[in-house]
Chain length 203, copies 2
């Protein structure tokens, strides 16, 4: 537990592996709903592939796949049931799912059962005495072989329209990308247009 | 991992211990800010004692203590620096920090480092085909000696004014209450008035 009032030299945050896959459950505070998805994250090529599970009110479940290319500012939206695909400009702010190098270490603690829980560090983008937080990241500590995995992230951005306010729980993470072809748009997708990259902070 | 589309007989949720203490970090989506606090929870007497840590923009930290009595619908707000106390009607909806008995099991997964993380269950108050979720609880599974501890809770209530939308991370939990006197209002608090209990659902 870090007593925030002590003048401890701030340790630099650990760095998460650049490529990984996993699952997430995300509460969207603006929409007031929860989304669950599989994610393949490529922090090298700045691409994300998300397969979203939608619990339908009618029998049968619908699956949507989203392919996000930050470098080309392109989003492919794929209806997996109908095998259709649309291409659009990437409008969501890019979440890098890493701890910013200038983040503030807020706390360290144990989640779960007392004595046998998960040790994590909570970081934020709060600037003490200057700016309150708009991003909070709970990550495991760095270990010899890895660690520094995201556990929970609060991500907000009120510069976009509509604003973004998400709390994401990450889980079932595996390092690396099993098959890089997941980032290749399906053949039935139209070619992408040239989209201007957004002028937003990359988190 | 629970495939939600299979017709598995829903297991009843585990029950969290009625009394415990711990710490929490809570993102308030309505206010757009994060609050950190110590909590002593009495699910028997329906009382909560919260010591909130406020990171001040000016040097020096301010501490506020809140004593919430659901049975009498009373809230004591104590400024710990000034040793002052006000009494008011409890307006926030009561969070019971347990899994409702009719909750839907959404998923089971491992948070943290692959292979050495924390196994949890994610529950919600979603009624399949009828109502989307307004509460999500991530809890550890029941164990012989305990378990069933809250890890993350998304709690929303749009019947109140202003509405409530919180994501709370619980940690450093210890079973039981070390000293029951934490629920006794300080002597410098005025006596409480008679407040009508609220007509809201008890979560």
């Amino acid at each position: 537990n870090v007593p925030p009032s002590t003048s401890v030299e701030q340790q630099p945050p650990c760095q998460t592996a650049a490529q990984w896959e996993g699952r997430a459950s995300e509460w969207d505070h603006v929409q007031g709903r929860n989304n669950r998805f599989l994610i393949s994250f490529d922090g090298v090529g700045l691409r994300k592939r998300v397969i979203e599970e939608k619990k339908s009110f009618m029998p049968g479940r619908r699956f949507y796949e989203y392919l996000m290319e930050y470098k080309t500012n392109t989003m492919y939206t794929i209806n997996m049931n109908l095998q259709t695909c649309t291409v659009s400009q990437l409008k969501q702010p890019w979440q890098n799912h890493t701890i910013p190098s200038d983040a503030t270490l807020e706390d360290e603690y144990e989640m779960g059962d007392p004595g046998s829980g998960l040790h994590v560090q909570e970081w934020s983008d709060r600037l003490p005495a200057r700016r309150s937080e708009s991003w909070i990241g709970i990550y495991t500590p760095k270990t010899e072989n890895g660690g520094c995995w995201p556990v929970v992230e609060v991500f907000t951005d009120d510069t976009t329209d509509p604003p973004v306010s998400l709390t994401t729980r990450f889980f079932d993470i595996t390092p690396g990308i099993k098959n890089m072809s997941v980032f290749v748009p399906p053949s039935f997708c139209p070619p992408s247009d040239d989209f201007e990259p957004p002028i937003t902070n990359q988190y």
